[in-house]
């Protein structure tokens, strides 16, 4: 298991390097240079100096290698400095956003909490809804509960999140006025009242994302349960006189959770991608909104870094899912 993990980690390095190269080159093709927004009245030599100041005049490979060094060497050092109060990264050049002229990673750290609170809690809520629904749907296959569950799951992954979000805004903010339609990032939870406000403004984005996630995960849970309910060991357990509760919730559930856990792990990075739209609908000031802003402003370092972070998350959670599968299912051995 350990050798497998190490091998996979080593394999992840060339994959990530290749992805970073693809992302870097793709973004670098951008015709919309940040300089195109400078007024034409500025003389050419000043314009050239400005491009030079941004480092945009170097050849592609120099910028790529510099970006790699900044991402993998300078930024971790900065992080260590922040934790331990050392000054290893002193005088080193960090990845700087072209839009705001401040380090990209600092902005990402500022935006991360919003994304994590909204998207993270939506994922947790989604999983918590999906598991019981999936279990009961499978246990009572073709019952009315199962039919309704199937229908809602179908709606959950057919109706795009931007439409559910807009409908929720229409019903609950415009018509009923229960929840605010815009997420207020500057709200600090200090007492009971601000906590209530926070819950209120989180309710709709969380509901949208949770519905979407629950739809998918409940389907996996249901089919996995169905597969296990037909197994011989279930009949054996029942024949031994086990109470139905124990058969379903202990024997079947534990075995059925193995693939579902890996699916849940695999879904975590894609949440960040899917959340781009939801963040845009509810104006949550998170990573997705940051990416859209950077794309619209041709802020190349920001786009490259953010996209690459998403790629790292995907590779990382793929690895975690595979390792979890091996840990949970003793029949799977990667040797």
């Amino acid at each position: 298991m350990l050798t497998y993990t190490i091998r996979r980690l080593l394999l992840a390095i060339p994959t990530l390097l290749f992805i970073s190269l693809i992302i870097f080159l793709l973004v670098d093709f951008a015709p919309g240079s940040p300089m195109s927004q400078i007024p034409l009245t500025i003389p050419t030599e000043v314009r050239l100096k400005m491009i030079e100041a941004l480092g945009a005049n170097e050849p592609v490979y120099v910028r790529y290698l510099l970006w790699l060094k900044q991402f993998f060497w300078v930024e971790p050092l900065v992080m260590l400095d922040g934790i331990f109060g050392t000054n290893w990264s002193e005088g080193m050049q960090r990845i700087v956003s072209w839009q705001s002229r401040s380090p990209v990673m600092d902005i990402i750290w500022q935006r991360l909490p919003q994304t994590l609170t909204v998207v993270g809690s939506a994922y947790v809520v989604g999983v918590l809804i999906a598991l019981p629904i999936g279990i009961y749907s499978a246990y009572r296959q073709y019952s009315w509960f199962d039919q309704v569950g199937t229908f809602f799951a179908m709606i959950g992954f057919s109706v795009p999140t931007f439409f559910t979000g807009v409908v929720l805004i229409l019903v609950f903010s415009v018509n009923l006025g229960w929840f605010p339609s815009i997420y207020d990032t500057s709200l600090r939870v200090r007492d009971w009242d601000t906590f209530l406000l926070q819950v209120k403004q989180m309710a709709m984005p969380v509901a949208v994302l949770a519905l979407y996630n629950a739809a998918q995960i409940s389907r996996y849970m249901r089919s996995s349960m169905l597969e296990n309910l037909g197994q011989d060991y279930v009949r054996t357990a029942r024949a031994k006189g086990m109470p139905e509760r124990v058969v379903v919730l202990k024997h079947v559930l534990r075995n059925s959770l193995i693939p579902v856990v890996t699916v849940i792990a695999l879904g975590i990075p894609s949440i960040f991608g899917g959340a781009i739209i939801t963040e845009q609908v509810f104006k949550v000031n998170g990573l997705g909104a940051l990416l859209i802003n950077a794309i619209q402003g041709s802020d190349l370092p920001m786009v490259q870094t953010l996209t690459f972070i998403f790629a790292v998350l995907i590779v990382l959670f793929n690895l975690i899912a595979d390792i979890l599968y091996g840990l949970l299912d003793p029949r799977i051995r990667y040797d």
Partner: protein, 306 residues
Amino acid sequence: MTDTSVIEKPRNQWADVWAQFKTHKGAVIGLAVFIGLVFFVSLGPFIWTKDPTYINPNAAEMIKTRNKPPSWEFPLGTDQLGRDMLARMMKGGQVSIAVGMVAMSISILLGTLVGVMAGYFKRLDGPLMRLTDLFLALPLLPLLLVMVMLFRDPLARAMGPEGGTFLLIVFAIGVTSWMQAARIVRGEVLALKEREFVLAARSIGTPPRRMILRHILPNVVSPIMVSATLGIASAIITESALSFLGLGFPPDFPTWGRLLFDGVDYIQQYPERVMWPGIAISLTVLSVNYIGDGLRDALDPRIRGR
């Protein structure tokens, strides 16, 4: 003496599939709804001949026709520039469904090509599957956004704003969604290669090209069809998501996603302008997903005939 009249007619495989498909109630309703929607967007403009982009050149007249509620003249009302919403819904649906179909075709073509190559030729298997894994590890939505941002203007200049954007979006969605199909096809091909009929065909010296076209491909049609159906749904969602983020088709060119995006600004006064395109997108995707569900059951010989 045997009675020859009891011999059943030989049954056609596709008749079997259709018989099984018909038992799936959701799939039949989905098919009906989808055909209805396709008729609505393709034949509708011949019956409802209003121009979806017509703005009254007389400014005073234009202001009078703005933001009209539903009436006999404008069954779905008009938008903020006095354009007829029903005609815009039809035009938008044409684009959305066309994007879904073409993008799905590209992704299925690519996926089948990669899958068959990887499954059939052992030498290509490793590199092609690494490539597939690589694509699966890419953050697709951000990359799509980046691609649209980068190439929209040059392509629009080269081929006109509509054709260029259409090609770009269709191509971008196709290139980022072929991986699932490739994996499924590869698995099927690997299993097929071990079958006797393939061995027999090879032993009489069938060249690889005919082998693939005659023996392998017809046997992987079922999984391809299922993933093609589901591919339409996801392509339509992706296109409308791009339009919704303002990175899709140009503003005067209606698609369902674009109409929804435009309607959000007026959600307080005219909520129906968001509802119509939203319902259209959801209904299309829902019906296509149900068709895919029914097809999967109908094409699975283990379920069929039970």
